[in-house]
Amino acid sequence: MITKVNLRIADINIEMISRFPLEELSESERIAQVEERFKNFLYAGNLNPDISIRIEIVKKLPLIKNAKLQFITYHFQDKSENWRFLKVNSSYIFKSPLEDKKQLMLINKDFDTVTAYLLPHKSKGFVWNFTDIIYDFSQVLLINYLAQRNEGIFTHSVGIKDLNGEGIAFIGKSGAGKSTIARFWYNYSKAMILNDDRIIVRRCKDRFFIFGSPWHGTFSDYLKSKIESAPLKKIFFIHHAKENCLRKINQKQAFILLYPSLFPTFWDQRLLGNITTFCFDLLNSVECYSLGFRKDKSVIDFIRQIK
């Protein structure tokens, strides 16, 4: 029996396929894992997959010799390893050592074909659950996939599709007010919040679009909403202020503010070069502002009045 789950994130079709059965979930598990986060990203259409992931469940993860470390990430709190990314010949390896999520992914050079090796579930045995694959790994995969094709970036930002259909993004460091501004827009604007933490920006025929994603921050009510996108027209680099205030900024200033909010391919010079080029193209084609905003809903009209 073949089991399959298809997702569509930022117009990229991801097919996960296996000869092993899917884990059976209780109603509460299903709501927590699928309904809350991924339901609207499940895809049942006929388009061919852009990325294909074959899932194997093995008693022991394969040992890959001569793999060269590209990048390693650690948890902020306890400094334990989170995941590592390696290269062997022209392929890549993603490896997670976490006790409940030990996994190894073999990825081809174009980042569109993956064999995912998972260990058996502690109590349920040889079954798989797509959320184990999609949470950390698929973000790393998509970042590489988009960078390889010079097609897009992941940003730490709030993405909004306003009533006129235009896309706007709010970008800022932690504490700058992303969740606050998302909440005002969600409560008072009738606009669509695509995400309050992770927005994917893609280029399509020289136009730039923002897409929602299943990965989110603190404010998740609207994630049950849409896999929508919107043409990106304005980027606001935000900070709290006593009064709403706005200043147009140039491409260089915008890049310096944007870059720390990206999820770049730090490990690969060519892909990082692609991401940098993409950013400069993007910042050349959308309006960029430094925005100080008051902690109330007045910021919505303040932004809508910009000509």
């Binding site: 470390l69 590209q70 990048f71 390693i72 990430t73 650690y74 989170n82 491409q251 260089k252 890049f255 310096i256 870059y259 720390p260 770049p264 730090f266 490990w267 690969d268 010079q269 990082l272 070069g273 940098t276 400069f280």
Partner: protein, 93 residues
């Protein structure tokens, strides 16, 4: 500053020039190292351009004295600080 010294750029950077300034983006191997982005002003950008693995620091300094309205002392000081910083971020060797 050793004027005869010849410096080379490390290949662990992505660079972009905007107007007269340059942005350096380092390649990292670990989430612990990430320190993001460096911007070089007009003079530092020119020094960065002139570091080519062949030109001595004396030659670079001479070029800067021709191109910028600054004294030798000012250029010396600026170059020393800048080269020290570039070494600290492992951008040159």
């Amino acid at each position: 500053m050793d004027d005869k010294k010849v410096l080379r750029k490390n290949s662990n950077m992505v660079t972009r020039k905007i107007d007269d300034e340059t942005i350096l983006l380092p390649i990292y191997k670990s989430s612990d190292e990430i320190n993001c982005i460096y911007t070089l002003d007009k003079v530092a950008s020119r020094v960065w351009e002139l570091i080519d693995g062949r030109s001595s620091l004396a030659k670079i300094k001479k070029k800067l004295l021709e191109e910028f309205d600054a004294t030798e002392e000012e250029i010396d000081k600026k170059m020393s600080i800048f080269l020290k910083e570039l070494k600290e971020i492992k951008a040159i060797k």
